[in-house]
Amino acid sequence: MTPARAPRPRTRSRRMRHFFTILGHEIRMLLVNASTYIAAVLFLFVMGFIFTLLLNTYSQAPQETAPAYDFFRLFWLPVFILVPLMTMKSVSEERRLGTLETLLTTPVTTTEVVLGKYGAVYFLYLLFWGSTGGLFYILHRFASDPRLVDPGTLFGGYLYVAVSGLFFVALGVFASALARNQAVAAVLTLVLLIVLIFGVRLTLDLPLLQLEALRPARAALDSAQVFQHLDDFSRGIIDTRHLLFYFTGTALTLILTILGVEAKLLHH
């Protein structure tokens, strides 16, 4: 029998190398895919349309808030379209084609694969949202009133998009890991996002939650109100509880995704 070879040192950098290889590959594949550009054009068209409508409103009558505030209040609309479209292929397509099997027979772990795919979609998500900065640049360049571009609201809005995007994209990758069919993954992502963004607010209106005994549950749900978080960020309030909500939500969802992929493999 061959004597066992001396184990190679499993350093952190060695593990991270696989992550960056997968991340680079996934980003490249997204950037050479025509559907990415179609999604980008549609996204910019919708965002440009919303922005034009807002400017039209502001040109007709003075408003109490800056355009950026109202612009980010509608963040859910592109999120509902973008996140399911970008994440639905990530894991489900690999499993459907069987390439996940060959990928996992190389010295990479499920964690590296999931994080690599997640990172690539999140990068693209940020890139799409970053491109809307052009709209505010145009406003800043051509508007006569400098108050129309409030840097604080703008920074808060983009920071909120970046932080909340961590959780939203994680939910999409999670749904993609559960479903073998891309369409099912997209619908599941949409449902999860609707529950997270609107479901909490609707649940708070339930008469049952007005009971004194359920006060802790009401408080917990109250702190999970996405629009409340956005308001705080837009006003420049960076509440660590909000950050914790999105970071823990992201971490838990990604852990469940990794476990889900491994469980599916076990019962292959």
Partner: protein
Amino acid sequence: MSPPEPADAPPTIEVEHLVKTYSGIAAVNDVSFTVRRGEIVGLLGPNGAGKSTTMRILTGFLPATSGVVRICGIPVASRTDEAKRHIGYMAENNPLPEDMRINEYLHYRGRLKEIPREKLHVRLDEVLELCDLKRIRHRIIGKLSKGMRQRIGIAESILAEPEVIIMDEPTIGLDPHQILIVRDLIGGLRGRMSVVISSHILPEIEMTCDRVLIINGGRIVAAGTPAELRREVLGLTHYEVELAGDLDALPAALAAVEATLVVEASQAADGGGFHRLTLTTRREEDLGEALLQALAARAYRVRSLARAQPTLEDVFLAATKRSWDVVDAPGRRDSRRRSARGG
């Protein structure tokens, strides 16, 4: 063609009492075998026999319920990542990303297999040349024929020069010309890498493999070289003879040639008075000439005589049938396990 290393060479694959169950149903049931360095071993079995499950466990993709698998001495269950560095795997149906170019895909896989960047380009050129993919290296994988895709799968599995190559049905769905190319590619690995391939195409296994493991119902039911299997599973040597003469006196004439030579089956005489007979004997040496002389001396008219060459298909059918009949006979199971080890 380089021969596999000698029998005392350390094995690169060791499988001991491997069991895999799904919801209480055993897909792989107490399988044990070893593969030496440089040896090509074929895994043969009907659909659902447990071939693919065994291969997936060998690669570390699936965990076993119980048992031990070692690749180059490394236990796969406890040091999966390390064991994976010694394995090249081509999965069933060879799944490939449709929208990548060949060289992009192989480069990506090379990076994942931790081939140093400075060596990767050289190695990529070698592998593309070996698998005859150099001319089409910039083509999109999704637009390639099945044969080309299989070659990409083989190129990918040998890219990192692993000690062990595992291929699940590498020739499935290929035309005869493509099968020849893939067979040559696999044959070219003999002596350098240990190769385990599964196939339904029995002549394919017979031509490519040094040793065959027949698996059925999750168990190894026969193991050895094709010649050993014929001897072990079928046992008797068969002769087909067409002759005319007194059939009643024939057993005595046959006994004079070889004591164990008997008539197993006979057909009625045709228009010319010739009977077609099947003779069997335990003797392995060729009795053809002695038989012809003995029959001629006893005034039999012989029109044809041929030693029947059972194919691997006959062996496979007999072995799988036997496994259904006597699957739990303890004595046979022990001897089967002994024969599976080491070849």
